[in-house]
């Protein structure tokens, strides 16, 4: 386990925003009837968070639940906890039509932070990142240029972006280019 590394070994770029690859985190994909009481209880018990509403984000310390689709959550937790979290949910929902899978190694996560973070993201994704439109508590699945991505606010001036691990370099390069000095747009000032 100690030999597990992120896709880019914690790559970082400082420009008009800071781009930083996040350390390894645990991720569990949960498919099932999100409105079911039993699913909610299982998630609360095993992952320590409530089930978010449509496109919602529920965060409790290092634990976060992201609404990915009407029948899909992505649960975030410390890396080491993912296998047992998935197993716990599967055990609690045994016999039901639900499935939890450890996908901790399938993705890369970046933090995009600083006052210009919104502008950097708005160069890559066809999403309205204006304050008041894009706010904490919502996750938006979209594309970052040509790669699939999900974006949510994980801090006051910090966005989290996840993408598949194989395109981590591509997405990091995109974000860094978008954050290069001189690229201030001023659209959200």
């Amino acid at each position: 386990m100690s030999e597990a590394v992120t896709a880019l070994n914690g790559a970082r770029y400082e420009g008009i925003a800071t781009i930083a690859e996040a350390p390894l985190g645990g991720m569990v994909t949960l498919r099932g009837d999100l409105s079911g009481a039993d699913l909610g209880a299982a998630v609360q018990e095993a992952a320590g968070v409530a089930v978010p509403g449509r496109r919602g984000v529920v965060a409790e310390g290092p634990r976060t639940a992201l609404w990915m689709a009407p029948d899909e959550l992505l649960l975030l937790m410390p890396y080491a906890e993912a296998p047992e979290t998935a197993a716990g949910i599967n055990a609690a929902l045994a016999g039901r039509f639900a499935l939890a899978v450890d996908v901790s190694d399938a993705r890369a996560r970046f933090h995009v932070s600083g006052p210009r973070a919104r502008e950097v993201l708005a160069k890559l994704s066809p999403v309205d990142f204006a304050a008041g439109v894009f706010a904490p508590g919502e996750v938006r699945r979209t594309r970052a240029a040509q790669a699939a991505a999900a974006v949510w606010m994980s801090g006051e001036e910090e966005f989290s972006l996840i993408c598949f691990r194989s395109v981590a370099r591509y997405v990091f390069d995109l974000l860094s280019m978008a954050a290069a000095p001189g690229g201030e747009v001023g659209a959200f000032d």
Partner: protein
């Protein structure tokens, strides 16, 4: 001659000098100049040569509509051709070169075309195609090639950076003149999210030049206050130097921001493409002045009246000392007045109208300017520059009544609203006969996703040309727009605008009215493409009735300016020649962009290393550091082979094959698709996906399976592993993972939505390594932790546990025919696991191998490859895979398709092996000809090569092929065509070349 005036110039800063070069010669201008104003101030009236006749060309306009003054800008990696001098802001160090002239602008050889102009009429190029072909090849094509093209293509990779920006708003206003500002103010005050774009660096448009007064003061004061108010609104984004380039469906608008063009030293993106979604778009794009069609109207020194005024007022440049104004409207009198007040001479105003008694003509007379009504220009004197005009009666045929010496002519044929953005997405136009212009028809606006109109106009763009009417129009239209999006507009009166009252113009499409062919052949409609009144009339005479056809035939309105000056005059000329009304003839289609935008801005970030996503496995860097030659597989990069010092690719591949067959090979198989299918109905679903009966697979076991589309055509294959009672793990091809995942989701969501199955794409969760060769088991045993013995883990079984400290699933499957294990570990540990295998495998002769060795080994074993043996028309039966198709299942995807007559025909081409008689390697895709010709008169064929390699194991060429009734023809020899060689003979054999009994993988 043109020169800089001693005083004035509202846009220039005389304290800030700017040095630049034109054709290598040093020049100077001021901050605030355009390249055009600076050149004109320096006495440069000859700026280019025309496209076809290489006639001398000077400035006609002062803005985006300029057809002539195109230059090459910059040098080396920053060179760009066809840049308009009128929209190029001057900066220190600017380098410009003239275009379309050889050897120099002053002495251009191509001008010889001018002498032969009468042999180069409209449709010249088309007509030449009709002549004997030898003439074309040896005479006309070389001539056209030499003279074709505008400017010179850059030869180096663009050194600048470019980006996109996605923006959203309620109201997008394009155009920062007084109408646009008023529209933005109204929307901003109503609380809407507003973006206001202005293509130039300055706000206010024409009003300050035209002497408009607003709220009792000069227009400039109101403009400054408006900009300040807008700037202070949080809900408003102001963007100068940003052109509204194109309008597309559902409120999608492209804005082209020239961030760094005016200051190349700044470390900023050069251009930014704004990709805007607007609920409503207001085009406040103003109007463009039209030239008049008189003989010699292209001689340098003949300019639009508004441009002359702009150069004098904005940049303190006089285009000439003595300027004759020729017009059919009142507005051009403003130019005469501006010239006069700058101390310049206006020998006469020639007004084609019989009478001119409005406010402005009276003012001109009061200033002592001679006004001649009912008069026009018969012809312009001068070659490289205007020296005089011949005056004639507009009503006549062009007899010269008088010559007036002058060095500039300011012409005005009236104004046309800029309707481009309105029209881009389907907005329709109506003909305004009183003003002789096409204007947007508000009842036929472009509609958006909800079916409601999403484009409105404001100001001159609506056809409200006079400043006071423009302001009223903007105010009125904006009220309606805001109401439409549920916003209450503030109950404020629009500002009070004072502007001279203008009398109606008289349409003049030809000057003089009765000009004969000789004069018409010197009346330019399109300066850039050298299209004259005579060309359009010739087109009409030759039967071109549609304006679109006439455009293509004559080239009217083509190229970089897309006829901004010539369109209306051209179609009026056409309608006259056809004896039809202008609205009946109609306009050509306005297409985006409004003016050309850089290709790099369109590409945005997608260039160089991020041109497209490159997918990398967790072991990518190791491969890179160890000599990998890359092969693209979908968006993945996979090692083709690993070259050692002194090795060719071929050598490396052969070494890798031999080593894997004889000792131990390691393959990064992480790119393989890994899709989990789970749920109470997983068995039922999996049996629909695969052609075989996969549901009978027991947990812990694997089976090879095929997936077909509904045609029955094979689209993917791979090994399916049963994870547990209700879960399967489907391996797909590397390129097929996303497609197959989407395919599964499609069926589950759209056809069998009541089936309880979940599908999760785990491709990226795992790094996967194939450990292949006689020493494979030894290596895994060295790592320890999982029993991989033949008894515990037989062929086509899988197990999981901890292997050498790594959480691992071990699949005993083989794509090489050797003893082989594929091991999946979490992707985060993939690199460490790979390195452990390399290190522990050293004593066993472990070497990595790439995709080519994989291909050679699978071909030696006769295993098919999706994309080689299949091409989207191949059913499994063609490949001898009948054994993998269930006969018992009632249904599976593709079953019905395979039942079609053509699929069951014995005449299909089927898979066989080929051995060349001489041992050589057949070329990929080679065809075997057969007797006779097909219905198209082409030679019949009887087969083609699908995979072909040199087999280092067998020491000869091997191939797989699809051959007509192939399996029935074992032992037969057929010949394959090879370009440049005699046909190569090959014997039809079984496709399994190596270890046909499969003993090596079963140890």
């Amino acid at each position: 001659m043109s020169t800089r005036l001693a005083t004035g110039g509202r846009l220039i800063d005389r304290s800030a000098r700017r040095r630049f070069t034109f054709d290598g010669r040093a020049h100077e201008g001021y901050a605030g100049d355009t390249l055009a104003s600076a050149l004109l101030a320096g006495g440069h009236t000859l700026l280019g040569r025309s496209f076809k006749y290489h006639r001398p060309r000077g400035l006609v306009a002062s803005g985006a509509e300029e057809p002539n003054a195109l230059v090459g800008l910059g040098a080396g990696a920053r060179f760009e051709p066809n840049q308009r001098a009128t929209t190029t802001e001057l900066f220190d160090g600017l380098q410009a070169v003239s275009q379309n002239a050889w050897p120099s602008l002053d002495w251009d050889v191509g001008v010889v075309n001018n002498a032969f102009a009468r042999f180069l009429p409209a449709g010249f190029y088309y007509k030449m195609f009709m002549h004997p072909r030898p003439l074309w090849k040896h005479l006309f094509e070389p001539f056209i090639r030499r003279s074709a093209g505008l400017g010179r293509a850059p030869s180096e990779r663009d050194a600048d950076r470019y980006e996109h920006f996605y923006a959203f708003c309620d109201v997008l206003v394009v155009g920062g003149g007084i109408a646009g500002l008023q529209a933005a103010l109204a929307a901003g005050r109503a609380g809407a999210r507003v973006i206001l774009l202005e293509q130039t660096a300055h706000w206010g448009g024409r009003s300050p030049v035209d002497g408009v007064r607003i709220d009792g003061g000069p227009a400039e004061a109101w403009i400054n206050a408006a900009v300040q108010e807008l700037d202070g609104m949080e809900n408003v984004t102001l963007r100068p130097r940003t052109m509204g380039a194109g309008v597309y469906d559902h409120g999608y608008v492209l804005g082209y921001e020239r961030v760094g063009d005016h200051d190349p030293a700044a470390e900023v993106p050069r251009h930014r493409l704004w990709r805007i979604r607007a609920a409503r778009l207001i085009t406040a794009t103003g109007a463009l002045e039209r030239p008049l069609s008189f003989a010699g109207n292209d001689v340098p020194g003949v300019m639009l009246a508004s441009a002359v005024r702009d150069y004098v007022v904005n940049w303190a440049v006089s285009p000439g000392d003595r300027t004759v104004v020729v017009t059919n409207n009142d507005d051009a009198y403003r130019t005469a007045l501006a010239l006069k007040s700058a101390g310049l001479e206006v020998p006469a105003i020639l007004d084609a109208r019989p009478r001119a008694e409005g406010e402005l003509p009276e003012m001109a007379r009061a200033h002592g300017i001679r006004v001649e009504t009912g008069k026009g220009v018969a012809k312009v004197r001068g070659g490289r520059h205007v020296t005089a005009v011949g005056v004639c009666a507009q009503a006549g045929e062009g007899a010269v009544l008088e010559e007036i010496a002058c060095d500039a002519v300011a012409m005005s044929g009236g104004w046309s609203p800029v309707v481009h953005l309105w029209s881009h997405c389907g907005g329709k136009l109506e003909w305004d006969a009183a003003q002789a212009l096409f204007r947007p028809d508000p009842d036929r606006a472009p509609t958006g996703h909800d079916g409601h109109p999403f484009v409105a106009t404001a100001g001159a763009a609506s056809g409200a040309l006079q400043a006071d009417r423009a302001m009223a129009d903007a105010d009125e239209n904006m009220k309606n727009v805001l109401q439409g999006i549920g916003r209450k507009s503030p109950s404020r009166k629009p500002p009070k605008v004072e502007s001279a009252e203008e009398a109606p113009l008289a349409p003049v499409w030809q000057m003089p009215q009765g000009a004969g062919p000789a004069l018409r052949a010197k009346m330019w409609l399109d300066y850039q493409n050298d299209v004259k009144v005579s060309d359009v009339r010739l087109a009409a005479q030759e039967g071109y009735e549609s304006v679109e056809h006439t455009k293509r035939y004559t080239t009217l309105g083509m190229a970089t300016d897309q006829g901004k000056l010539s369109n209306i005059n051209g179609l009026a000329t056409l309608s006259q020649a056809l004896h039809e009304e202008i609205p009946q003839v109609g306009t050509t289609t306005f297409r985006p962009p409004y003016t050309p935008i850089s290709m790099a801005a369109i590409a945005g970030e997608a260039r160089g290393p991020v041109f497209q996503p490159l997918r990398r496995t967790p072991m990518h860097e190791w491969h890179e550091a160890n000599g990998a030659d890359w092969e693209p597989v979908g968006q993945w990069r996979r090692p083709y082979c690993y070259r050692r010092a002194g090795e060719s690719r071929r050598d490396a591949v052969h070494r890798e094959v031999r080593n894997t067959r004889n000792a131990l090979g390691l393959l990064d198989a992480s790119t393989l698709g890994k899709i989990m299918v789970s749920g109470p109905d997983a068995e039922r679903f999996i049996d629909m996906l695969y052609t075989g009966k996969m549901s009978t697979l027991k947990p812990g076991k694997c089976r090879y399976g095929l997936m077909c589309d509904e045609n029955g055509f094979l689209m993917d294959d791979g090994v399916c592993a049963r994870l547990d009672e209700r879960s399967f793990l489907c391996h797909t091809t590397s390129g097929g993972a996303e497609r197959i995942h989407g395919w599964m989701e499609d069926w589950l969501q759209c056809e069998w939505w009541d089936w309880q199955v979940h599908v999760v794409n785990l491709t990226e969760q795992f790094a996967q390594v194939a450990v292949v060769g006689p020493n494979a088991r030894n290596l895994l045993e060295r790592l320890g932790g999982i029993d991989v013995s033949k008894e515990t883990l037989p062929f086509m079984a899988w197990t999981e546990g901890t292997l050498g400290g790594f959480r691992a699933r071990v699949f005993r499957i083989s794509f090489s025919g050797e003893l082989s294990f594929e091991i999946a570990v979490p992707a985060s540990e993939g690199r460490a696991f790979w390195e452990r295998l390399v290190e522990a495998g050293e004593g066993f002769g472990a070497m990595p191998y790439g995709t080519e060795a994989l291909h050679v080994m699978r071909a030696e074993k006769g295993f098919i490859m999706i994309g080689d043996e299949t091409d989207g028309t191949i059913i499994p039966q063609d490949l001898g895979l009948d054994w993998a198709i269930s006969k018992k299942k009632e249904d599976f995807l593709g079953k019905r398709g395979m039942e079609r007559v053509n699929m069951t025909s014995p005449d299909r081409w089927k898979l066989v092996g080929l051995e060349t008689l001489d041992g050589s390697v057949l070329p990929d895709g080679a065809h075997a000809p057969a007797e006779g010709l097909n219905a198209n008169g082409q030679r019949n064929t009887q087969g083609r090569v699908t995979s072909t390699y040199y087999s280092p194991t067998l020491g000869r060429g091997i191939a797989m092929a699809l051959v007509h009734r192939g399996p029935e023809r074992m032992g037969e020899t057929i010949a394959f065509n090879v370009p440049g060689r005699t046909p190569v003979k090959a014997k039809i054999v079984e496709p399994v070349f190596y270890d046909p009994k499969g003993e090596r993988q079963n140890v």
